[in-house]
């Protein structure tokens, strides 16, 4: 009896192996590796005027100018020299995903007398010429300020749509003057101060931004 069981087991084993061999013969199976995808934090470093940007930075070179004589005509050829220039540089780390920044500028003083211009081309240093190219000097002051605002918004939109690859740098400048005529009475240009909040919200390029 035991012999029959043994023979039966061996037979079944051989049958099983035969089926396996036949299956292996009529199929051709390969296994390959595909890909690894790694999700990292977004990591950026921001510089303001070549200093590492911290939460609050004081800028004390704001100059008040005359709208018509200086902003429009640059009668004294000094508009470029007296401009308060804030050069921002944001570096996306090499380990970050493809990203974009959502930049906002907010001046806390809602009745501020500031005229500012956002420039995304770092090569531009003749601010008066650049400003003159944006506006119609024969227009009213209100319309000219609207034209500058429209330009600034276009620049912000351009920055916000820019896809940054890991390791890339995004640069822009904010050039500011004080408009003496727009300063509230008493016109204390020595002690006028306000806060310009610049927010960089850096998000991945295509998807979730919450």
């Amino acid at each position: 009896m035991k012999k029959y069981i043994l023979v039966m087991v061996v037979f079944l084993l051989l049958l099983s192996m035969t089926m396996t061999i036949v299956y292996g013969w009529f199929t051709y199976v390969q296994r390959k590796s595909v890909s690894t995808f790694t999700s990292n934090d977004i990591d950026v470093i921001i510089y303001l005027n070549e200093d590492l940007a911290v939460e609050t930075m004081d800028l004390s070179n704001l100059a008040f100018v005359d709208f018509e004589d200086d902003i429009l005509n640059d009668t004294n050829h000094a508009l470029n020299d007296v401009a308060e220039v804030m050069s921002f540089e944001m570096i996306l780390s090499g380990n970050s995903p493809v990203s974009k920044s959502l930049i906002t500028l907010d001046i806390y003083d809602t009745t501020h007398p500031l005229i500012y211009m956002i420039i995304t081309d770092p090569a531009i240093v003749d601010y008066h010429s650049y400003l003159a190219s944006l506006i119609n000097p024969l227009d009213t002051k209100e319309n000219i300020l609207t034209q500058i605002d429209a330009h600034n918004q276009t620049q912000i939109d351009t920055l916000n749509q820019e896809i940054m690859l890991p390791g890339e740098t995004q640069q822009f400048k904010v050039v500011v003057w004080g408009d003496y005529d727009a300063l509230s009475e008493p016109k204390d240009i020595e002690n006028y101060q306000t806060t310009l909040a610049v927010q960089f919200k850096v998000v991945n390029a295509y998807g979730d931004v919450s």
Partner: protein
């Protein structure tokens, strides 16, 4: 006594034969399934197949819109971006350059070359899916990824056909699941030869997409409204299985 000894010797003989055959089969099986050369030729029951694997290089991680493999390989275009890079030895999962983020898409192509004129039918399956670095099962990054076949074509006489995936069984967009051990079919029984008079290559294009609408959850099950739970994780597609049969299943 002599008969008993003879039976014992026979039994030992059968046992040794069984062990030997089992060893041979096991060795043969692992030799076939763990073959890792990217391009090889094998002849199994009259079907000759050669396999090549490509990753589409796109530094912006937006996948490929140029679903025409041989005109857009990196070697042909002599560039290293926006082209199909042949993976010459995919022993380990190809690391996608840089970090990935929701909304990104990655494209791949597998070309299976039929050298002879004997018809063969290809099944492609993804498997051994793995998430690394998750806190709870529900936050495995793999559930935010999905895949889909984007094109099936045949290359004959130096011409790649239009997409004719509609003729075959293929996978439209499907998310990976958090359950381990799942297999994910790409295509089923796609003929290697389109026109039986010519040798040809069947090309399977597929994308892997990081779905930005899939979110994680808190440890207590409270759903998140963002993908932050998947940050600092890795998602690995360890294997793509290619199975070529000489006959279609009934």
């Amino acid at each position: 006594m002599k008969t008993a000894q003879l039976n014992m010797l026979k039994s030992i003989g059968y046992l040794m034969l069984s062990v030997f055959m089992l060893t041979v089969v096991t060795y043969a099986w692992f030799t076939i399934t763990y073959e890792n050369k990217a391009s090889l030729t094998s002849k199994i029951s009259g079907v000759e197949a050669e396999y090549t694997f490509y990753v589409y290089q796109n530094k912006y991680h937006t996948g490929s819109n140029t679903l025409n493999l041989y005109d857009n390989t990196c070697a042909v275009l002599e560039q290293d971006d926006l082209c199909y890079q042949e993976v010459t030895n995919p022993i380990t999962p190809e690391l996608i350059d840089g970090s990935v983020a929701p909304g990104e898409r990655f494209s791949f192509a597998i070309a299976i070359n039929s050298i002879g004129t004997n018809q063969g039918y290809v099944n492609l399956t993804l498997g051994n899916i793995e998430s690394i670095g998750y806190d709870i099962e529900e936050n495995k990054i793999q559930k935010a990824f999905g895949y889909e076949v984007t094109k099936i074509s045949h290359y004959q006489n130096d011409i790649e056909s239009e997409d004719h995936k509609a003729l075959y069984t293929y996978q439209s967009f499907r998310h990976f699941e958090i359950t381990d051990g799942q297999y994910y079919d790409l295509v089923t029984e796609v003929p290697m030869i389109y026109d039986i008079n010519y040798s040809s290559t069947v090309i399977i294009y597929f994308d892997v997409y990081y779905d930005p609408s899939i979110f994680g959850q808190d440890l207590d099950g409270t759903p998140h409204t963002n993908s932050h739970a998947f940050i600092n994780q890795s998602f690995v597609i360890n294997d793509v299985y290619m199975n070529v049969r000489s006959t279609k299943s009934s």
